[in-house]
């Protein structure tokens, strides 16, 4: 009955109003800030390498900011020694402490990651290694801290490769730790080397060499040092791009015409034309799922980035801002595209969200080149030209907060590539 319904409804109203009402506050937005962390010297570390490496690694990532601890006199060895009031007064949200025990030619390194506000230990681990492995151990600690806090694996143990121009007459292809240490030349030449590409399986590097007085493509095995000439067709051979399974290479050939994109096996066999056009098509790069190829074409007037699915022949335009967009590379999850965009004569590293198509510019330029994502997609490695005949390689964090040079010496350094997680 209508009256009964009315009656029940109002009882319910009463019931509801009798329970305790809790206020709700909506909080929208926030600031992208680095987490403050105090990285203290590990007690017993004679060279002070370990905490310095951890500090550099974490700072480079753009997620952490190291607190200045120059004025601190003594450092805790483990969690029991920690004076939380002291560290929170320094406005440090996190604290990394540790100790090193010397066992002859071996060292035992223990670290603690501490949450200063909650006054508790987040994680701890012990490492055993040779004395000269201290930097490697420190990189491992950085990785563990990074993963614990951000939820993403760290890349501080990975390697990078790059080309150096020495004294205007020699070119070398070098491999070093991600932070620039332990740099070693794997190729030396009197002619330029460009377009270095580390294979996804970590075993090889493909690159373009001008040693035959024209660009040709080599694939070099990093373990054996063996190099194979995989493309020496008439005209130019350049822009090698590994398929995600490391079995194929997309390359650019010209014959006697404009640059066009071809596909071949990684050993140089089974060459076939991939994209046909009357304009410049170059700089192919694969999507991580292996189903599409992104490339640069000037079919629309100036150089822009296009995408083509391998199962159909249609190329769709991807970049629409500005009149010069080149050097595309995909993030490991395939959602972001990094490239170089020219804006008022300045060449800058940009990132485009492929779903929202929003574009962010991560560097100021003026002459930035060759951007490539880190294996965890959180940083971009690129090279930047400086005044005079100088150039260096650097990383920039995806949030744009941190751009740090990779120091490999004073020589002109460019054309970098990044190893995968495992190599």
């Amino acid at each position: 009955m209508k009256l009964i319904k009315f009656f029940i409804l109002n009882l319910c109203l009463l019931a509801i109003t009798q329970t305790q009402a809790i206020e709700v506050i909506d909080i929208l937005g926030g600031k992208a800030n680095e987490l403050s962390v105090a990285v203290t010297p590990f007690v017993g570390d004679e060279t002070n390498n370990i905490h310095n490496v951890i500090k550099s690694d974490l700072t480079r990532s753009g997620f952490f900011r190291a607190i200045n601890i120059d004025a601190v006199k003594s450092f805790p060895k483990n969690i029991e020694d920690v004076d939380f009031t002291f560290w929170s007064a320094l406005k440090s949200e996190l604290l990394i402490i540790g100790k090193v025990e010397d066992n002859g030619d071996q060292i035992k390194v223990t670290y603690d990651l501490v949450d200063v506000f909650k006054e508790k230990l987040i994680t701890t681990l012990e490492f055993i290694g040779k004395k000269n492995q201290d930097r490697q151990i420190a990189h491992q600690i950085s990785n563990l801290v990074y993963e614990k806090i951000t939820g993403t694996p760290g890349v501080f143990h990975t390697r990078v490769a790059f080309v150096k121009k020495i004294d205007n007459k020699k070119f070398t292809l070098n491999v070093s730790d991600m932070d620039g240490y332990n740099s070693k030349a794997v190729v030396t030449s009197t002619q330029p080397i460009i377009s270095t590409r580390w294979s996804p399986d970590g075993e090889k590097i493909a690159y373009v060499s001008f040693e035959k007085k024209k660009p040709v493509i080599f694939v070099q095995n990093l373990k054996t040092g063996e190099r194979k000439l995989v493309a020496n067709f008439k005209g130019n051979n350049s822009a090698p791009a590994w398929s995600p399974d490391s079995k194929k290479l997309a390359i650019v050939l010209t014959y006697n015409a404009n640059s066009q994109i071809y596909l071949m096996d990684a050993d140089g066999s089974n060459i076939k034309r991939l994209i046909r056009s009357r304009s410049i098509d170059t700089e192919p790069t694969w999507s991580p799922d292996g189903k599409s190829i992104f490339f640069v074409s000037d079919r629309g007037g100036g150089p822009q980035i296009y995408k083509m699915n391998l199962d159909d022949d249609e190329a769709k335009r991807v970049t629409f801002e500005g009149r010069y967009n080149v050097s595309p590379r995909l993030s490991p999850d395939g959602k972001l595209l990094t490239f170089i965009t020219m804006e008022q004569g300045s060449f800058r590293v940009a990132v485009q969200n492929l779903i929202s198509n929003q574009v962010m510019k991560l560097t100021v330029g003026k002459n930035d080149e060759s951007p490539i994502f880190s294996p965890n997609g959180h940083m971009i490695l690129y090279s930047r030209k400086l005044q005079g005949e100088k150039a260096e390689i650097a990383t920039v964090s995806l949030n744009g907060l941190k751009s740090v040079k990779i120091d490999v010496g004073k020589e002109l350094t460019q054309e970098p590539t990044w190893s995968p997680f495992d190599f």
Binding site: L3, F7, N10, L11, L13, L14, A15, Q18, Q20, I22, E23, V24, I25, D26, I27, L28, G29, G30, K31, A32, N33, E34, L35, G62, F63, E93, F117, K118, I149, T150, G151, N353, N399, L401
Partner: protein, 274 residues
């Protein structure tokens, strides 16, 4: 006529039912004991309580109303023999003692009576107090009944009245709501400044925490995660922001604070889609 009386009967029946169930609900939900389960055992005061001496009047020293038995020692001429005098004196002494005893007993009795009276009085007072409380509670009951009734019957009218009165600053209720909003805004601002969304990726995610506050603005305990953003690093970063915002700005007025001592905070670290 029949129809009318039927309607009358029905409406009577329903009004009685409504009243009964209202009373039932109010009785059920009315907090008879002033215990608040959310607070810890510590008693919190706005100011140091003044010590009220409610104890019984201190026992008066027995000597105050001592009736000084003025003994008039008659200085009789010693006509009789000393023995007679002695006996007389003895008798007199005895009598004096007896009198004294009697008097003391009288005093005692009087004091006992007084005490009894005081006790009776106390009891009477207590009774009065109890009666007062009962009366108050009854009055409250009546009031609530009335207001509940009003709310049910004139709900619409009240709504429109409220809307019309929102701009009226003289309304006490309106003023209180404004204060509440002000503090909510202050709390929102302070926490938002500390939210570090660096670890929250690029998607439009949301999460919520429930917090309990002390009058100092500090957290009573760790924030309780009610809805996760599905990104643990983001959840942790937002929780850190709450910690870093201590002490939160809270009103000093206890009634207003009571409304804010438990809060639900809903976060959208990357904002909301436009």
């Amino acid at each position: 006529m029949d129809f009318d009386s039927k309607i009358n009967q029905q409406s009577n029946f329903f009004t009685i039912l409504i009243h009964l169930s209202l009373i039932l609900f109010i009785i059920i939900s009315f907090q008879w004991s002033p215990k608040n389960p959310y607070f810890s055992e510590v008693e919190l005061w706005d100011a140091v309580p003044t010590v009220t001496k409610k104890s019984a009047a201190p026992p008066k020293p027995q000597s105050i109303k001592k009736e000084t038995v003025v003994k008039k020692v008659e200085t009789q001429t010693p006509k009789n023999t000393s023995k007679e005098a002695e006996i007389n004196l003895k008798k007199k002494k005895q009598k004096a003692l007896e009198d004294k005893k009697k008097k003391e007993e009288q005093i005692k009795k009087v004091q006992e009576d007084l005490l009894k009276q005081e006790q009776i009085k106390q009891l009477q007072n207590q009774l009065l107090e109890a009666e007062k409380i009962e009366k108050l509670q009854n009055e409250l009951l009546e009031q609530e009944l009335k207001t509940a009734e009003q709310e049910i019957i004139t709900e619409d009218k009240k709504q429109t009245k409220r809307i019309a009165l929102e701009g009226d600053k003289d309304l006490e209720a309106g003023r209180n709501n404004g204060e509440l909003d002000k503090y909510k805004a202050l709390i929102q601002q302070k926490i938002q400044q500390n939210v570090n969304n660096n670890l929250c990726g690029l998607d439009f995610l949301s999460l919520s925490f429930e917090i309990s506050l002390l009058p100092s603005g500090e957290l009573l305990s760790d924030p309780l995660l009610k809805e996760s953003s599905k990104n643990p690093s983001c959840d942790e970063a937002v929780e850190r922001a709450i910690f870093q915002s201590e002490p939160l700005p809270v009103p000093t007025d206890p009634k207003l604070f009571a409304k804010l001592k438990k809060l639900k905070l809903k976060f959208y670290p990357n904002g909301q889609p436009q």
